[in-house]
Symmetry: C2
Subunit: 305 residues, 2 copies
């Protein structure tokens, strides 16, 4: 079942302890779409400038990503530049040029509007809401947000969240959104804001899933080398919704198969871990579904007792 993904398609400049790239394909929408494309057909909604390379269009198309909603306008594409700390647990943003993204007004092609799955990448809450409203009969919608929207667009965000089935955020964002230091208390407060399902991402430490009566935790995958963590959280989101769409999951139903939902969290973790293995989205140039399923089995093996 097809998945609509909205967010940024951008160029990134990245410096990690393992090297640097001046300009590489990036953006939340890019990572989510690439990741989810291993599970189900994906349709993206985004905007790029006239500097957007044909090579990158071809890369996305090679993963069967529907680009009908990828608007191209005069100007430059969104550009982000950042540098990671030695242990790669922190990063400093050196530059954020919104460029054509500053005036982004997502417009869904007709062919997108009946897709049953919707993933709203980290953009202004009002835009996320507008996309949600353009869809007819969505079975499952959810997305991501960040500190900036939680702090400075709080009411707009709360109004947007009301219509979401799930929210994916990291632990510091969960604390900020809820005003609670304790993660368990924070989670239950967020579950009263609209989403019936909350996934808290903890980077290298894994992720936690909360519903009113269900709870699941997975540790992170231990990589021998983290090459570049850019996009890992978005790839988690892509694997999470990708697997839910593959199973046709509906989170609004009273009785959810908790294990099926947990497997979506595992696939999210699997995709996030692969993302870190090369610069930018390069791992997705070679990654196969067979490798993905093998890593899923690794998770089974190293968490079973």
């Amino acid at each position: 079942m097809s998945i609509v993904v909205v967010g940024s398609v951008a160029y990134d400049g990245i410096e990690t302890p393992h090297g640097s790239v001046d300009r590489i394909l990036g953006g939340a929408c890019t990572y989510i779409a690439l990741s989810a494309s291993y599970f189900n057909p994906v349709k993206i909604v985004a905007v790029v400038g006239d500097d957007f390379d044909q090579e990158d269009v071809d890369f996305l198309a090679s993963r069967n990503i529907d680009l009908a909603g990828l608007e191209r306008v005069p100007g430059k594409s969104f550009f982000w530049q950042g540098v990671y700390s030695a242990d790669m647990n922190d990063r400093t943003t050196l530059r954020t040029d919104l460029n054509v993204f500053a005036d982004f007004q997502p417009k869904l092609p007709e062919s997108y509007k009946s897709s049953p799955y919707l993933l709203l990448g980290n953009i202004q809450p009002a835009l996320q809401k507008s996309v949600r409203q353009q869809m007819n009969g969505v079975r499952l919608a959810g997305g991501d947000t960040m500190n900036y929207w939680i702090n400075d667009f709080r009411e707009e965000l709360l109004d947007t969240l009301k219509d979401w089935d799930f929210l994916l955020i990291n632990d510091s964002e969960a604390r900020l959104l809820s005003g609670e230091t304790n993660i368990k208390k924070a989670a239950h407060k967020i579950l009263s804001m609209g989403p019936n399902t909350l996934v808290i991402k903890r980077g290298e430490y894994g992720a936690m899933l909360f519903r009113q009566d269900q709870f699941f935790v997975v540790p992170g995958y231990l990589l021998e080398q983290v090459f570049d963590p850019t996009g890992a959280g978005d790839c988690f989101a892509g694997g999470f919704i990708g697997y839910m769409a593959q199973c046709g999951l509906d989170l609004k139903k009273g009785q959810i198969d908790r294990k099926e939902l947990s497997r979506a969290v595992i696939y999210g973790s699997v995709m996030g871990s692969f993302c870190c293995e090369e610069f930018g989205p390069n791992r997705f140039r070679t990654l196969t579904r067979t490798e993905i399923d093998a890593r899923f089995q690794e998770f089974k093996a190293f968490t079973d007792f």
Copy 2:
């Protein structure tokens, strides 16, 4: 099968966001012994001053802990005072008075020497080595260490580790000991130093177990309120060796039941989580084995997929 535990028996002054105590029973040996006592008979080796309260002797004895090796000498008991940060992930030591512990020379009672299990709490490596040498026919020995010994007593520590079956340390200590930033690389380097089994504790994020050909990860238990984390790592150690002793595990054998060993890590995590629920070791005044086994089952439930 009985377990010999060596380490500090002390008084602590603790301040957390939930309150403070001026003087409460503490010390690594105390926590390890209390925790392990739920699984197997425990015999402790430690020294206290003549200020050590009868009430605390009675508390340890009430858990059937053998106190024949608890030496009492003139002077004051080891005293540690610390204050925790708001999120309790950091603590600052305000005072460390070694007192009678400064001249501690562990002497094992004859009745201890044939115990098959030995847990060496965090004390000077040479003293850990001396205890190991006083034992006859130990089946399984291991313990803990810390930054101070890794930095300033490195050769002595490496010489001591050679005879251990397992080492329990936290992730920053593993990086320091190995000189590797990546935890997977750090772990394999440490496994070449002597211990065939390494447990890396990650506080609220759980723990990882490494052997040459085995790997297991468990996420942390999510408490609604962390009251006081003092001693949680030692209680982990107590649950870990306690369960191994209960099963009669021998880590030197070629074929180890990986799941049985993983369950020891879970019991470690369970005991560490209970420890945080009250000030100092107070949770062990009421804790029952039934509660412990129920929490073990909770771990089963929230990690299964």
